[in-house]
Symmetry: D2
Subunit: 388 residues, 4 copies
């Protein structure tokens, strides 16, 4: 391992940007990463203020990512940033990511990966070509119990997978919040900034990613009922989707942002021939394992539980009964990225348990998912093939 903290720059995440602050907390938590610079806003003034908020030296707060990449790469190797974290709206993912890579910086990118599938495929080319490290923050895969579920499916604890149900209910777009000037709502409901997917891009991609991650199966066909529930909105705010998987398994994905009073309780049920696994965000430190004719087993996060898989254990920070949550899950993506980058920089083989973070493939599939759902939503045919 490199004997130093890794140095991170940030693109986006100015004041009022919810997710930027979460990325910073996640990056800081484990002490492997130091935030050294940022281009936090398209407004140089705003960027400067955010830099001050987080105590950056003024000379490391930049007015644009182009400026940042340009200046940082000229800094001495023991000073300049190692990687950039890009937390802007979707339409501002591709260019800063590509340029970062082309300038030799590794990349952490918020989801959905790009504005459209075309960009995603191009970005993949750049990632592949540069060979640099790339992570996509599908946060939910950072939860230890999601990792535990994945391992349990992999090792056959529930037998051949038959059924995957994912529900992602939110309520914050129940009314036309975007008309009130709320920034989060504004860009997420704007096709120019979000792309062709509204809720299916913002949260549907998380749901699809979780389904494929845990089941270990690829979605092959979709049948989507895509809705604009709130009048006057331009992008979908609600979708229910029938899903088929490569092994013949089936299921549903429901994602909506207009379910009044819903918080953010994404949940998944995966059933196989021999048992079922059940997880919900509200109870994120528990994994329920059901088996025919047996008491349900409640597996719990905690460094003291030897029954957990090494992968899950390595992503817990405290003994059982000390709840870890969203920021910790997010931090696990950063921790995985950092450990893998440490290994890469020092020429060591990364620990596969830490290398298990969502990357460019997941990002491409996410963008393909959005396009396929939109296509299916408009189709009179029942099944639309999902392929990349």
């Amino acid at each position: 391992m490199t004997k130093r903290k890794l140095r991170m720059g940030m693109v986006g995440g100015g004041r009022d940007a919810f997710i930027g602050a979460v990325h910073r907390m996640a990056a800081r938590l484990d002490g492997e990463i130091e935030i050294v610079c940022g281009a936090f806003s398209s407004s140089a003034e705003k960027s400067k203020l955010t830099g001050e908020d987080i105590y950056l030296p003024p000379e490391r707060t930049y007015g644009s990512y182009n400026e940042m990449y340009d200046r940082e790469k000229r800094l001495p190797g023991d000073v300049r940033m190692d990687f950039v974290s890009i937390v802007t709206p979707n339409f501002l993912h591709f260019d800063p990511a590509v340029k970062a890579l082309e300038n030799g910086f590794h990349v952490v990118l918020d989801k959905p990966m790009t504005f459209d599938l075309t960009e995603a495929l191009k970005l993949k080319e750049v990632v592949d070509k540069t060979g640099l490290l790339f992570a996509l923050t599908h946060t939910y895969t950072g939860y230890p119990m999601i990792k535990q579920a994945k391992v349990m499916v992999e090792r056959g604890d529930i037998g051949t997978v038959r059924k995957v149900h994912v529900k992602y209910p939110q309520g914050w777009l129940t009314s036309k919040l975007e008309d009130s000037g709320q920034k989060q709502a504004e860009w997420r409901t704007d096709p120019k900034r979000s792309g062709i997917g509204g809720s299916i891009g913002d949260i549907g991609t998380h749901a699809a990613n979780m389904a494929e991650y845990i089941s270990g199966l690829k979605i092959t066909h979709l049948c989507a009922n895509v809705n604009i529930v709130v009048e006057g909105r331009l992008l979908d705010d609600d979708a229910d989707i029938l899903v088929r998987y490569e092994n013949g398994a089936s299921g549903t994905i429901s994602a909506s942002q207009v379910l009044s009073g819903s918080e953010n309780n994404i949940s998944i049920d995966v059933f196989g021939e021999k048992g079922g696994l059940h997880w919900s965000h509200e109870d994120c430190n528990s994994l329920y394992f059901s088996q025919a004719g047996q008491p349900v087993n409640v597996l719990r996060a905690g460094v003291d539980y030897a029954y957990l898989s090494p992968t899950a254990l390595k992503h817990c920070r405290a003994p059982s009964g000390h709840p870890e949550g969203f920021i910790e899950a997010f931090a696990n993506i950063y921790l995985d990225f950092a450990y893998t980058l440490h290994s890469k920089l020092s020429g060591e083989t990364p620990d596969p348990d830490y290398a298990d973070f969502p990357g460019i493939e997941a990002g491409v599939r996410g963008m393909a998912f959005i396009e396929t759902v939109v296509k299916s939503g408009k189709s009179d045919r029942k099944w639309v093939e999902f392929k990349v």
Copy 2:
């Protein structure tokens, strides 16, 4: 009110028939109904043994329902049965129901109502013609908190309904139980006895009924993914369905009997413009009411809660914190039937809160639901219209 217990005969429900025993407990619970006779099995010997088990006089245990109707109608008016409860497998619903009605006996019938839609429509004609009382045991509508949910939607507590999700997961047919000689599994997986629907008939009809009952909306279109998961089975054991309602609301219904380790936890989420209502069978005495920006309210069953609607209150038997469950919900159907029959017999207007039990219309819709789901399952088109 008639000053006596109502007298019930039973068709089906011999030894080993789970649901027959439940019907009897439900009928007994409130002391309004006396079980006076029965034709419990197609085997006269079995019928006799069941009659003995429940302490019927030998002369009131019959070898067939035809015999029962024939003999009972000749008994004096203060002795003969008032109504019959029919708890046989689906293929044995129509004939005993029609003949009961034609012989002047009111009818309680288990669901799904008949073998197919044709029978259902014919039965409706007989019910309409005879004017006799008819109840279908969609148990879940007997739960006080389901009734409370219905009232709350009706009075606008959640605003215009947008979304209805119903999940009905069971696991008892996870493996090919019907090959082991288990009677329940045998007839439910046999197209000759169950009709064209497997799980969608057995439990899907409950789910659809609950969705329409609470939302107050009719389903207009379906898009079904209907599966036979366990190899060699002849009827569906799993289905996921996209649903559209008359007011433009949408949602899903998932019903499966092959979800390993699942018990019987039917659950529903109904969302409107202003709020959401949430109920699950496992926690049947609670109703969760979510509203944007507000603490969730947990409404609870109990005769002491003045905040409950009269309809809900009349279907509770104990103060809050004294859990009532499945048998009580079932008993509420019988209680409603009994009170309404009392009124009918004595020429009084029935209390509408007690007259709110599922009847012939619900039964016809249930059979149409099965046919529509099967049709949709085979169709390449996305939407199939649901009409009766």
Copy 3:
């Protein structure tokens, strides 16, 4: 088994008496018991009306229990009641129970058993002398998962018991309800009708009974903080108690009726060297089994769960996932009593799984518990010995 329903008379349980109606539902549920007569109220008029409510023939509704015993015993053996269920307030338990026994009638009695310990000991003498069957309705021991817990402790699943915590929070006496004319509150707060214990008699005895039943241990010492929280009340409405058991185990019992918003969620945690068992009334069909370093196991009620003990299974009526509750638990006491009485009447050995209902010993210990708690409440010494 006797080839007939058992015939029950009732003392108390007139209109407005909550628990009387519950007793009747419980007695009816399983079809083993027929309610044939009653002396439902000290007012002959009220008694008559209640008799009519439940469709008794007028000649079997009596103006007093003395009259009832006198008349019933002269009826032919195939008509007269077999046993009496006494559901009056505490001060009216002893005399009707003793007289019933002396007249040859078996007895089911509500708790707490008598007005005071002296009466309890005298009643025990009569029970012992007459050899008639006697049951005390400590409802909670009727729950299948409570029985399962008892068996698991007995067979050593949790090792030697170390700790027993029981909490019984109610809120219905939060304000001075007895001044409003509410009958339940009136007699329960009146020392002339309740005896020396208020909440500790009404619900504390349930808690103590559950602790001893599951742990299989006798309480040996108590240290009680007994309170009258609502001003002007004459009997305790709240108590917290430190408890020591015969094997050196310790724990607490808290029972209160002034905890605002509390329903009736009695809960217990029993810990041994190897594991813990956890049950709460709100979730009465689940039993949580915790063990060091292991996933918690959730055992569930249901006739289909072969992992349950025979004792538990025999007290379930439906497959898992069909919630049974308070009335079913109550009915289990009646079922046990009925099956045991059937055996007794026909000279057979009763099934010990059904003979496991609370009887005279539990009743005596309950009355001793009340006296000991009151004594401890007034004492400056820490520990007061609990002995009968």
Copy 4:
């Protein structure tokens, strides 16, 4: 506010010290604190390794706290540490804390505060004399919903407090873990390092602190049953305590580390005349508010909930439905300390919502609690007065 991160040194927290790592994560999370130096172990070698683990420059890793204080105070004002975080076992709290203060460093100290009450009172003198900032990490008061509960009691939402129940069950000392070489268990069960309290010091003080914090009431009397459950142990590992509060309210505190399979689910119920508040660690983002005759309200953490008090809101980092847990609660103590220290250093009045962290008074009461519980445990009298 001072325009820089605050600089923290650490005493204790070497490799394998669970709580040291948690303190560091908590300090880092919000980016207000930089860890600049440490004396992580009494072994200079171990200290050095820990310094390397967290990427400290070698010259800022010290062999002892004396050395650290000595050297740091000679560093320039813009380099040297501002405060020290002391995370050693109890017997090593007093000296490093006193010396830090005497050398002009502010102090964050783990609980229980000192080895005994005498030390606590002396430490208070030093804190008072130096006027430096002092925080005690009673983590649980850092939870937003605990703060919300406190505010709700304060503003009268539940009326006059009547009852406070706190349970703190752990299971990790179920067997004699200290004999296996586990460091945490070793010192916590060793009177020379822990002081006279075992579990009552380690977790009982948290429970008492939470009770007083939320209720706003001081404990005045205790009656404790203090036990050594695991044979051969020298300090209590289990205690049940009756409690009386200054306003006449009463309740219980149970704290145990030998409850097999228990994790760390501290829970509290506070009841007043008008309602009750309910919180448990397992479900730390919810606060249940019960009121007589009303639906329970479930308040939830989240920056988007305007119904929360400002105090609670300021201690949330994400919108509702993004679970925050133990590390965030811990970080809230550090955040409060940091904001208050920022204000202090820049001569501003601290925001009272951030100044609400446990300090020297809470620490003194904690030590007095331990002494009173031990005294009561040995006493034959029921009540022992709790005074400082």
